[in-house]
Symmetry: C2
Subunit: 142 residues, 2 copies
DNA sequence: CAATAGTTTAGAATTATTATAATGTAGATT
DNA sequence: AATCTACATTATAATAATTCTAAACTATTG
């Protein structure tokens, strides 16, 4: 979703009614320079603290999943109890900072294209994702 | 942990008391030809159904985490609510079958060594893991 | 407008996991 | 061998992320 686009129209286009909760969430998620990563909890905080708005937790979940299904959000695989989401929906790899629990995008140029030499019969490849775990140079890590 | 090794001695070596629960779990986990992947729930089922033994859920969690800390188990990152564990503790990549929710090891030869060109200041790389999501060729996928 | 299908919501339910605190036991000390 | 003690096990409660439920609300259509 491009910055400052007509969210009402965009939502209608994909068959989602432009409710005020969804429009507000579009603003929080897409009206910014860079894409970013968030958890549901982050998002709820952003809505209430930054926007001074109250959207029920169930609606935040519903809407995030609706946007995901429409291809406007991507879920990221990290071993953790909670899910991470990404407003950058293109195929890309990640660094995960084990100290801060922050996700950082890899640029196209950071990792060469990965060539899978094996193929599993009857199965097609949906995605190939690299996760690079990093942590403080000095510290004890798991 | 090698197959048919002396689990009692192995446990003592790393400072874990060889209780009957831990020995039983060693047998379930390591007395087999190939390494494998499991969830806590899988493991509890294996213990009760295959071994006809009852180990409390808390002990299964405790022991899995104790074995993980000692380097005899590895946790695998999949987006899911539940954690997967691996008796193959070496660095390796995975296929994840989105139909069956099964993890499959990549051989060394299946994916070329990954070269990370970016480095994050003050951080060292702990691991680089590839996850290849596969699904049935015909089916609707998320 | 009125009808209707889709949406929001508070709160309950579910699920994986961790914490608690009482009981049990391996291994050391007498 | 009996005793001691730190470590383990256990049932159960607590927690946390997520999903479900069902009633109230609202965007859109006719
Ligand atoms: Mn999801
Ligand atoms: Mn863990
Ligand atoms: Zn990203
Ligand atoms: Zn594996």
């Amino acid at each position: 979703m491009p910055k400052n686009c007509n969210f009402v129209e965009k939502l209608r286009e994909v068959g989602l009614r432009p409710t005020k909760q969804r429009i507000k969430m579009c603003e929080v998620l897409y009206n910014r320079e860079k894409t970013f990563h968030f958890t549901i909890n982050d998002l709820v905080k952003m809505i209430s603290e930054k926007m001074n708005e109250k959207i029920s937790l169930a609606t935040v979940y519903n809407t995030v999943h609706a946007f995901e299904k429409k291809g406007y959000l991507k879920e990221i695989s990290i071993d953790s109890q909670k899910s991470y989401f990404d407003t950058n929906t293109s195929a890309h790899h990640h660094f995960f900072d084990e100290d801060t629990h922050e996700l950082i995008d890899c640029d196209e140029s950071d990792i060469d294209k990965i060539n899978i030499k094996k193929n599993i019969t009857g199965k097609k490849i949906n995605s190939v994702e690299v996760l690079v775990r990093v942590a403080s140079d000095n510290q004890t890590q798991k």
